[in-house]
């Protein structure tokens, strides 16, 4: 949708390298959305509350890693989805874990998608391409 490209994307990722490469690929794929990165799980809810109270727009999409510094991604997901103001924000879980238990519990806790981080660079490019096509093009994001 036309407005999607202006929406801020929040990336919750503790690994510098993963974030570095991800943002590089975003750039290469021509994604112009503003990116915000948080690496500590505990910062997510205060950050969203601050935006809300300042009257600024909330992120259009949250890309959430599960292994984080501080409280981990599973808990962050629960907290986002437990708050009326934030539960509408789509959360795309993006994790190393292919554990069936993680996948199931994330969906049960309201994750909107679950992707396993690939080691292969080409697959990473594919992933980012999919994000662009799906979340940033076809999907109507909540306001």
């Amino acid at each position: 949708m036309p407005g999607n490209s202006r929406r801020m994307i929040l990336i919750v990722e503790d690994s510098e390298e993963d974030f570095d490469v991800l943002s590089l690929v975003f750039q290469r794929k021509g994604i112009t959305n503003p990116l915000r990165r948080l690496s500590v799980g505990d910062e997510v809810i205060p950050f969203l509350r601050e935006l809300k109270s300042a009257g600024e727009p909330l992120p259009g999409l949250i890309i959430l890693d599960l292994n984080l510094i501080g409280i981990d991604g599973r808990e962050v997901l629960k907290r986002i989805k437990a708050e009326k103001d934030f539960k509408a924000i789509p959360v795309a879980v993006y994790s190393t874990s292919s554990n069936a238990r993680d996948i199931e519990s994330c969906y049960l806790n309201g994750a909107n998608s679950y992707s396993v981080k690939p080691v292969e660079f080409a697959k990473l490019e594919d992933f980012v391409e999919s994000i662009k096509k799906f979340w940033l093009t076809h999907v109507v994001l909540p306001t």
């Binding site: 690994s15 390298e17 993963d18 490469v21 190393t96 292919s98 554990n99 080691v119 660079f121």
Partner: protein
Amino acid sequence: MEESLRSEPVTGLNNCDREPIHVPGAIQSHGVLFVLDPATFRIRNCSENAEKFVGRSPQDLVGSDFLALIHQPQRDRLHKALSNRSTKRFSTHRLKIVGDDRHSYDCSAHNYKNNTIIELEPATQSDLGAVEMFEAARASSGRMRQLKNIEEASALLVSEVRAVTGFDRVVIYKFDPDWNGHVIAEAKSDLVDSYLDLHFPATDIPQQVRSLFLLNRMRLIPDAGYTPSPIWPASGPDGLPIDLSLSVLRNVSSVHLEYLRNMKVKGSMSCSIIKDGRLWGLVSCVNETGPNRIDSNIRFFVDYLAEAYASVLFLSEGENDLVARANLTEIQTELIAKMNQSEIFLNGIIQNPELYLKLGSATSGAVFMDNMWHPIGDAPAPKQLALIKEIIEPKISGDLFVTSSLSKIDSRAAAFEELAAGVACFTTSKAQTNFFFWFRSEVIQTVKWGGNPNKPAELEAGELVLHPRKSFELWKQNVRHHSREWSAETTRALLSFKSGIVQLVIEKMEKISRLNLELERSNTELDSFAYAASHDMKEPLRGIHNYAALLLQSPEEKFSEAGRGRLQTILRLTQRSEDLINSLLHYSQLGRTDLQRVETDLNEVVRSALDSLRSRIEEEQANIEVGELPAVMGDRVQLIEVFTNLIANALKYNVEKEKRVRVTALDRPSEKFVTIEVRDNGIGIEEQHHQSIFKIFKRLHARHQFGGGSGTGLTIVKRIIERHGGEVVVHSLPKEGTTFSFTLPSVP
């Protein structure tokens, strides 16, 4: 004791056992007996031969003062002794009757059952007086007490007694547990036959006589040809016949006199040997050449020496017991220690057969454990062992089963008696799964009986009168089908060994369950570790990969051909690392997830596995044959993985034109596990690799051959099968194909 002496009507064959020998109503006529009122010393009864000794008839004597008959100064001494209530027995010598200076008498007095009984015997011409005799007795018994072994003490006893008494034959007659007698020592004159080592049946000395021998240790029959002298009147003031249990003149049973006559005995004396309150044996003295009267000094000597002998018995036998017990305890301790040191405690026995056999003083042994026989020493053959177990099994109720003659219980055991006539056995489990055996070989013993023991007595035709056996001719009996008896020490040692084993088993089980717990914990920890480690390892790996990919892609970086090649290698290696990490992750997950044990149809499982392999099977045009498979208890998803891995391997390591894979079940319906085989016609595996193929990341071929792979397929198969409680083995020869055979729990 008193009870067994009660008189009962004579009704049975064993009338010797019932004859009221303690109230015979008469005495042996070489002496005279008076029964006194203990308070007044007036005569209540006397033997009818009294007139011969004191010149007055019994009718005249009864009611009169006994002491008036006795010459001074013995009268006063006797009076004093009899007046002392604490006196039980009293004897004095050279006693004279008033008005008779020529004869002197030995006097014995005792109080019994409210009677004072006085017995007078004509004094003999003894060489030694009382003091000398006492000194001699003390010297002999002193020598006796220094002896430590029974043989020497026995020899000393019979020779000393014979020297003092002059009997033709003096023997020690030892009772066995069944009261048969065995002559273990003898001193005799040349004129009489030897009885040494002869056995005599228990009926020769009936129970009642044995009881009396415990009470009154001395029995005297100076002249077996005597005519008894009745007591007048026959009963005391209480209306009962006079109890002569402690009398020296007591008239003996007519059956016994007949026995003596049959044995050609003219005079006899016996003295009891009492050990631990039990009649152990007798010093038995007989004369065949003529009567032999022994005065009270000599009787004292014999009695004194017999007591010294009993104390030697007590010490030496007791000491032997102690030494034997200490030795057995040492052996047992050593054996248990060896068992404890062995990984499998049975090995402690098998590697130390001499200790095991020594513990039971056995010639051989065997252990039955986990359905297996472990013979020890020269044991019977397994078939015979099974028979022994079959015979004994219903009989093991208590702690220890022993028999010295198994063939008595079951005649089939006679076939291997030379190896195992006697058996001792215990089982350590209630379920009777473990048996410990000791065997003793047959000992053919020759027992020499003094006459045929099977005909100990003869009945007079039609009458209930028992006659003692007449024949004392040597009668030899071979005791067959017997081993040596199992002694109290041995049975005690075996029982104590049994509790040692039980203790050991308990300790081992505790140790095993502790180890299992630790193992389980460490396995779980290892799985969590592998899981966490592989996650964390992936992150830097991803970084390396991504940056190498970025370098390779960015146009502003100028790499040579070689540089680009190296970057490609980095990319390839990171991908391989990821494969390995993923496999490790998968393997550890197998241990972390719970197994779903449900009834699972293997036909359906194999179909699913084949579905996932379909493209490859079609590509290879492989020939897959699947037989009819059973249902098992298992986790469907994991079992699909087992078959997928095995069938994939079967196709992968195969260079034949027509690749064949056969999946079959072995037909063994009754068992707890079903066996499944996956067979191929592939390249096969050398025997030396049969174990290592199951190790994680183990590969037998170069990475570029046979399509590569992470080397975890078989490891995962093995882990899944083992988690189901089954086993997997490989049968294979190079170039001839491979068969993986595994078991899974069947549906109950």
